[in-house]
């Protein structure tokens, strides 16, 4: 994929006392970014820098206040109807609470296939069977989210995004709500999918993992991409002193 973001602005109402709002805060401040032809883009940066805000716009969940986004030269739609169609062609997984708690893992997987993509129930079941087995989740398919481990929940969520055959996946800190033992199984799944050519845009605080899977890295701070480019350059000799400071605090030596 090739992603070009130009002068992206996003604002949120600023909370004032008594539940009223006082003006707005600018969270993305003319953010620009251009990647080469890559498979995986990883967004990193300090907390509150605007990574999630950017990812939500890229995933078609929020509309920016201003600016342009284009994947492979195709600009994102600017109306909710168009964005919904766009969302059907991509997949998004959040930090937690992706699955619907009143449905079993299997029903969670079937729901978008049947209700959004028009498959029959039988067709949808056939579609999800192989991926479930491949990621050793078939034996858990009948369980409700409350009966699954955190890692299993996230892997089912990734599968649910995957089985609709999306053009790319957007992941926002998919492992940060997990215990360390479960992180590995989710990260492993992502690495495996990336190795077979799946495209990802992902936010993570796992620097070792970012280094392993990223083709390019964008450092998002204060609502801008202050440093971006190839993974080797980013980790090797970052020009930006903020990036050096950031890496010093997060990178395991």
């Amino acid at each position: 994929m090739n992603l070009v973001v130009t002068d992206l602005v996003q604002r949120f109402p600023a909370p004032a006392g008594g539940g009223r709002t006082a003006g707005s805060v600018t969270v993305l401040d003319r953010l620009s970014l251009a990647t080469g032809e890559i498979g995986t883009l990883v967004l990193v940066g300090p907390s509150g820098g605007g990574k999630s805000t950017l990812l939500r716009i890229l995933a078609g969940l929020d509309m920016p206040a201003a600016g342009d986004v284009a994947f492979d030269g195709e600009p994102l739609p600017r109306d909710e109807e168009g964005l919904r169609c766009y969302r059907r062609t991509v997949g998004t997984v959040f930090q937690a609470y992706n699955l619907f708690p009143h449905l079993t893992a299997m029903e969670n997987l079937l729901l978008p296939l049947v209700h959004v993509h028009g498959l029959t129930e039988a067709g949808a079941r056939a579609r999800v069977q192989a991926p479930l087995e491949r990621f050793r989740l078939a034996e858990h398919a009948h369980k409700r989210p409350a009966e699954l481990s955190g890692g299993q929940k996230q892997r089912i969520a990734i599968l649910r995004a995957l089985v609709v055959q999306p053009r790319r996946l957007f992941l926002d800190e998919p492992t940060s709500a997990l215990d360390p033992e479960m992180r590995a199984e989710v990260l492993e799944m992502i690495a495996e999918l990336r190795a077979e050519g799946r495209q990802f845009v992902l936010v993570t605080h796992e620097m070792a993992f970012a280094r392993r899977v990223a083709d390019e890295i964008a450092f998002v701070a204060d609502g801008r991409v202050t440093c971006g480019g190839s993974t080797e350059a980013f980790f090797g000799r970052p020009a930006d002193p903020r990036v050096r400071a950031f890496l010093a605090t997060t990178l395991v030596p």
């Binding site: 997949g91 959040f94 937690a96 992706n98 619907f100 708690p101 009143h102 959004v116 409350a146």
Partner: protein, 245 residues
């Protein structure tokens, strides 16, 4: 100890206490006089059942519409729903029935007191239902709505497939409580001369001067409706229990 035995035991102790209380009052029981009016009780009870069931359905509809209005995002629509809810909840049902029937229903030419009664009772109960439903809808985490949007659901699909199934489970106990109240509140319809159970019990009392013998069956008549309703609610709650399972 099985639950039903516990219930039975408590009921028996309670009945014994009530029996002692009654035995201390100097009261001439005259059951035969009231027994003569058993058909009247039955007719009144059937009217109460019919009125309650109708109001139950209509108030569910009214409550749903008002709840959706309360969180529509349009400030005018929200204000209208808010005024409705607060007016209804802030005034006695008695006043609503009297004004609603003798003033409003008359003004709009609605003469059938049974239809008017059901509508007024539904408007009353619907205001409480609206707040219960709104609370249930608001309790669904934002992440669930986001997940629904992320997989490409339309707002209507999201409501039907994601929000409502979870909200129903959340509001079930409160709705059951409200329905029990609704059944009992239907007794006030006697003030607009709807011939339901309470009005008939009052008439029997007037004919026979046997107050307790008229009103004890009245209480029993309501319990026969409210107890199964509570039991049904508990059963449904159990069926929809998925988080703890």
């Amino acid at each position: 100890m099985p639950r039903w035995i516990a219930h039975l035991l408590v009921a028996m102790v309670f009945a014994a206490a009530v029996a002692v209380a009654f035995s201390r009052v100097d009261y001439d029981w005259n059951w035969p006089a009231v027994w003569g009016y058993r058909r009247k009780f039955l007719q009144g009870w059937l009217v109460t059942v019919a009125v309650s069931l109708s109001a139950l359905v209509v108030s569910g509809l009214v409550g749903s519409v008002a709840a959706l209005m309360l969180r529509s995002g349009n400030s005018l629509v929200e204000a209208a729903a808010r005024v409705y809810v607060e007016l209804i909840r802030g005034t006695p049902l008695l006043v609503q029935l009297l004004i609603g029937f003798y003033v409003v229903a008359t003004a709009v030419g609605l003469e059938n007191r049974y239809v008017a009664g059901v509508l007024l009772l539904s408007l009353f109960s619907g205001a409480y239902m609206a707040e219960i439903f709104r609370g249930g809808l608001d309790a669904i985490p934002r992440a669930q709505i986001d997940s629904g949007r992320a997989i490409g659901l339309t707002p209507w699909q999201s409501l039907r497939l994601v929000v409502l199934p979870q909200a129903v489970r959340l509001v079930l106990p409160a709705v059951a409580g409200q329905l029990v109240s609704l059944v009992k509140d239907s007794s006030l319809l006697s003030v607009i001369a709807i011939s339901e159970l309470t009005l008939n019990a009052q008439e029997v009392n007037a004919f026979t001067y046997s107050t307790l013998e008229s009103y004890l069956p009245l209480a029993a008549g309501y319990l026969m409706l409210t107890l199964p309703l509570s039991a049904l609610a508990r059963w449904l709650e159990h069926r929809f229990r998925y988080e703890i399972a």
